[in-house]
């Protein structure tokens, strides 16, 4: 399908290209994740300071219910119907307004989000069953599998995808995660994460690139797109690189297929293998952060393992340090490096393109800034409380409601992954392309294991 045909199908007029300047503050979902995440955090702090429990009430979810009979679950929903309705309206307004400003049609977004919210309540309901853990019914896995089944069996209209914004939800979740993540932990554990991420990013990218070009004779632009996709953060990194090297549309489409397939395999594979090996939550979180491709898929895997190991917070902290703080920072750097290589060594025609160091900032995943700001602000705000007051007042009335909101954002994300993954839409890839990418995956997983378990194992085990 050409893009013009795609326009016709979507019934929208093409718009002018978006500027990299101030317009990005309201046209890019990274910035919206920051505005919403920090806004929710500030509202939470103000309500907490005034002694209000409104947010604590509104942040309700049935995930911790531990219900024994179906009647108990229904009783919970009946008793809290008004609260859930209010919460739904709040989410809808926040996401709906921001989506509209970014250019998404509300006539498509609203029905889509209603479906997503109702399904999320079902997921929480399943995860809140007293015996859920016995059957590995962890919320992220259940959300993913049910989403996949619906997307591939039920003939849902394509426009319903409008509200299944995987990246938007995970970015909001990460900013909210910053509000419960002490900045002191970033300072003490961050350098090791960055060191490990640097090793893995360089090795994985170079393995895919050189195996692809030298062993299988694949196009260097395709290999650059695949290499960075495997090394940094999947399709997002591939898209960032695509313009730097003038990659073909088909190259990015190939990356989508390989990243999605391997990311789904890893969501299932890594938590169960980590459990079979008896790895601690911190070590497994770091391994998943080193070896998963996309933030959304990685959070699903880390959260699943954290629930299996009974320490979700530590698994998510280790994953965040490794993936969000360590690997994601590499996107802009790789874009700049490949733009330099492409213009100096690969291109014969004059394209007027000059690699600029500002590329590193333009392509920087801005939601990470929101994570840091939330972490710094909350650390300062809560530093005046004694440990006893923190545990008796701050934690139940400020921190846990924010954790619950974050969990909602994550469930929206995990469900959206499944609901948007239609296997019939993925591109067929050649055996050579598959092999080149898979070589990188194998090296990445083995090296990630060695670094997380043996080289930096003591560091990740000590994480609290």
């Amino acid at each position: 399908m050409t893009t013009k045909e795609a326009w016709d199908e979507g019934g929208e007029e093409p718009r002018a290209p978006e500027a990299k300047g101030w317009k990005a503050l309201y046209l890019k979902e990274d910035w919206w994740a920051i505005w919403l995440g920090l806004g929710l955090m500030i509202v939470a702090v103000i309500l907490f300071s005034g002694g209000s429990t409104v947010l604590k009430t509104l942040a309700i979810n049935p995930g911790g219910l531990k219900w024994q009979t179906f009647g108990q679950l229904m009783g919970h929903f009946q008793a809290n119907a008004g609260t859930y309705l209010t919460q739904f309206v709040c989410w809808l307004v926040l996401f709906g307004v921001s989506a509209r400003i970014m250019g998404i049609k509300l006539s498509q977004f609203i029905p889509s989000f209603i479906v997503l919210y109702v399904l999320s309540m079902v997921m929480f309901g399943i995860a809140g069953w007293a015996n859920a853990a016995k059957f590995n019914l962890e919320a992220p896995l259940v959300a993913l599998v049910i989403g996949l089944i619906i997307a591939n069996v039920v003939p849902l209209p394509k426009w319903l995808d409008a509200g299944f914004r995987v990246e938007y939800f995970i970015k909001l979740g990460i900013v909210l995660l910053g509000a419960t993540f002490p900045i002191t932990l970033v300072v003490t554990a961050g350098p090791v994460a960055i060191a490990q991420a640097t090793i893995i990013s360089l090795v994985t990218c170079l393995v895919i690139f050189f195996v692809g070009t030298r062993v299988f004779g694949l196009d260097k632009r395709l290999c650059a797109v695949l290499g960075v996709g495997g090394a940094v953060c999947g399709v997002s990194a591939s898209m960032a690189i695509a313009a730097s090297v003038n990659a073909k549309k088909e190259d990015l489409y190939t990356s989508v297929t390989l990243v999605v397939v391997w990311a789904l395999v890893m969501i299932i594979f890594l938590p169960f293998v980590a459990r079979a090996m008896g790895l601690g939550a911190g070590v497994a979180g770091a391994w998943i952060g080193t070896s998963e491709f996309a933030d959304a898929a990685g959070f699903a895997a880390a959260s699943t393992y954290g629930k299996m190991a009974g320490n979700e917070e530590v698994a998510i902290k280790a994953f965040t340090l490794m993936k969000v703080i360590g690997r994601d920072l590499w996107i802009g750097i790789w874009s700049f490096v490949f733009a330099l290589i492409a213009t100096v060594m690969w291109e014969k025609a004059e394209t007027g393109r000059k690699p600029e160091a500002m590329e590193i900032w333009w392509r920087f995943p801005k939601f990470v800034i929101g994570f840091f700001v939330a972490s710094i602000l909350m650390t300062i705000i809560t530093s005046s409380y004694s440990a006893a007051d923190f545990n008796s007042q701050v934690r139940p009335n400020l921190i846990l409601p924010l954790v619950s909101l974050r969990t909602w954002a994550f469930i929206f994300c995990f469900l959206s992954i499944g609901l948007t993954t239609r296997f019939r839409e993925l591109k067929g890839v050649t055996m050579k392309t598959f092999s080149a990418f898979t070589a990188g995956v194998i090296v990445n997983v083995i090296l990630g294991y060695l670094l997380s378990v043996h080289v930096f194992g003591d560091h990740w085990s000590a994480l609290k």
């Binding site: 893009t3 290209p17 978006e18 046209l27 990274d30 695509a242």
Partner: protein, 71 residues
């Protein structure tokens, strides 16, 4: 007028159109994200470009309108 890709009729920079043009793009990514910056798709060459790039096959946007009006 500077003949850059951003002003060419083959340039697609709209996030929604890009997501429809590459099936599966939004599964684990998004055209609305910062990492894309202002990357767009050249319809003529089927490749990704930045708005400031130039090309010998540049065709101004308004030319498309004239062409369509004349047919």
């Amino acid at each position: 007028m500077t003949p850059v890709c951003a002003r060419c009729r083959s340039f697609v920079g709209d996030a929604a159109a890009l997501e429809r043009a590459v099936p599966g793009l939004k599964i684990l990514s998004s055209a609305y994200g910062s990492v894309r910056a202002d990357t767009g798709l050249c319809e003529r060459h089927g490749s990704f470009v930045t708005p400031s790039q130039t090309c010998p096959e540049f065709q101004p946007m308004h030319a498309a309108g004239r062409e369509q009006a004349g047919t």
